[in-house]
């Protein structure tokens, strides 16, 4: 694997770290299996790309993408809370609908951002090579996001959200409006995922309607790899695990695909992903002795 390929993998891992943290919020904190992310990731990319081409400031475009993602999360939450649709099914409905929404937003399946100003433009040409600039820049944003989410989850408000996912009956007895927590949590989760999509569009120079396929698996893979490596030792460690898991996942994929010996090609990506996630799930059992 070349240096450029390695840092490319790190960069992509950092972009998807936002997805991983979002998935962590939904799956682990709220205990809400949310597939909306497969739609909110490309939604973030689409909104950002269209706005940047229209001449909007790329930072503002990313913020709008987050709002759009939050709205998608709220739709899923509403289907579940207000209309009592099973959480998994509610998120699938939103995800399917978002495919059409994303096509409407872009007006076509693919929007290119060649030569457009992005959040990264001011940092290119400062002396560092481009393939260092991107992971560094995104890395700083990831650190900020992790700190903000960590402080939130350890605040009074965050505690209410964690209790909602862990023991809703107890949370209500303590005066927590659990329905509101689900709305809030799904909004934050999908806003983070959409921000990941916005970064994806700006670093890769395009938004594509199909780029969301499998986002949930990648996010879950990152969460699970992180948990396998670092164990359950508090919120901050879990969040760092999400980021680490996301980066390691990308490096592992890159390694698998770039090793000629294995004879894998790009189209094997999904299989390799499934194998990796399975491995991460089985590993803790193997360690405890006995896979049975």
């Amino acid at each position: 694997m070349s240096l450029i390929a390695f840092w490319g993998a790190v960069e992509l891992g950092l972009v998807y770290a936002f997805v991983a943290v979002g998935v962590f919020l939904a799956f682990r904190v709220l205990d809400f299996p949310d597939l909306t992310v497969d739609g909110s990731f490309p939604l973030g990319a689409a909104v950002t790309a269209v706005l940047i081409i229209a001449g909007v400031n790329p930072w503002l475009a990313a913020c709008v993408a987050m709002v759009a993602g939050a709205a998608a999360g709220i739709v899923t939450a509403m289907l579940n809370v207000r209309f009592k649709i099973l959480n998994l099914l509610a998120s699938i409905l939103t995800m399917i609908a978002l495919f059409s929404v994303n096509l409407r937003v872009m007006g076509k399946p693919n929007v290119a951002l060649i030569n457009a100003d992005t959040m990264l433009s001011p940092f290119y040409g400062l002396g560092l090579r481009d393939f260092y600039v991107r992971p560094l820049f995104i890395g700083v944003l990831v650190v900020i996001a992790v700190i903000v989410v960590w402080r939130f989850l350890e605040s009074d408000a965050g505690l209410a959200m964690r209790a909602t996912g862990a023991n809703a009956r107890m949370a209500r007895a303590q005066g927590v409006d659990t329905n509101r927590q689900i709305y809030l949590g799904m909004a934050i989760s999908n806003a983070l995922v959409a921000f990941g999509g916005a970064l994806f569009a700006q670093t890769n120079g395009f938004a594509d309607v199909t780029s969301g396929v499998g986002t949930i698996v990648v996010g879950l893979a990152a969460v699970i790899i992180g948990e396998t490596l670092l164990g359950a030792r508090g919120i901050l460690i879990a969040l760092i695990g999400c980021v680490l898991g996301s980066i390691l996942y990308r490096i592992a994929i890159q390694l698998a695909l770039s090793t000629d010996m294995l004879g894998l090609q790009a189209s094997d990506l999904n299989f390799v992903t499934a194998a990796l996630v399975t491995f991460a799930l089985v590993l803790p059992r193997l360690r405890r002795g006995g896979a049975a």
């Binding site: 009074d156 505690l159 007895a173």
Partner: protein, 264 residues
Amino acid sequence: MISVNNIEVIFGKGTPLQKQALNGVSLTIEQGSFVTVIGSNGAGKSTLLGVLAGDVLPSAGQVTIGKTDVTRKGTAARAGLVARVFQDPLTGSCGALSIEENLALAARRGEARGLASALGPKRREHFRERIGELNLGLENRMGDRMDLLSGGQRQAVSLVMATLAGSEVLLLDEHTAALDPGMAEFVMNLTQKIVSERKLTTMMVTHSMRQALDYGHRTIMLHGGEIVLDVAGDSRKELQVEDLIAMFRRIRGQTLDDDALLIG
């Protein structure tokens, strides 16, 4: 003060399984009074507690806690008025959170929750002190996950949690039923101490007639969704467990077959 006026609760209305759980129950519990509630399975004890807690909204009647009409308020909306300890130790606290996080959650019951850190140094110290009063050695395990504790320890912590924030009423839902006898006694003594120290208006549902007569100022017996016995003062002091059992037999018009009622 709690005031319950002509409460009707019907489960499964309009279905073949329709059941009248509470049938025109009226009850007033004065400020600072400790009331115990007994009754066989299906008598309506849990439903009455649910009506006060907000889990069950009555189809008719009125519920007032303190000065607030809470008849149509859900559990979360009235949590500022109601402190509660559940029967199942796993329900009353959050196993995935640490002891001190559970306490922090309970300390803001019924209040707005902001973005300030849930565990500042001052709060930590306060929680440590309160848990230290239990003499269970838990004050050195404040960061441990709640699910590492035994059922009795969890109930003891739940009792502390119930008193961290102010409330108009304390509801105890057979909160010693899942514990071994030694731990049940410890939790009951702790309950007694907390209730009398803080002069809490308390309603305790119990399966044990012994408990019902030994603790509190007043005992109520429910049967078929109605109050069939309401004793306090001297007449209650003279009452024995045997008298209660005899009364049960008369009401039911049959031999007593519910073993749980005879325990302790």
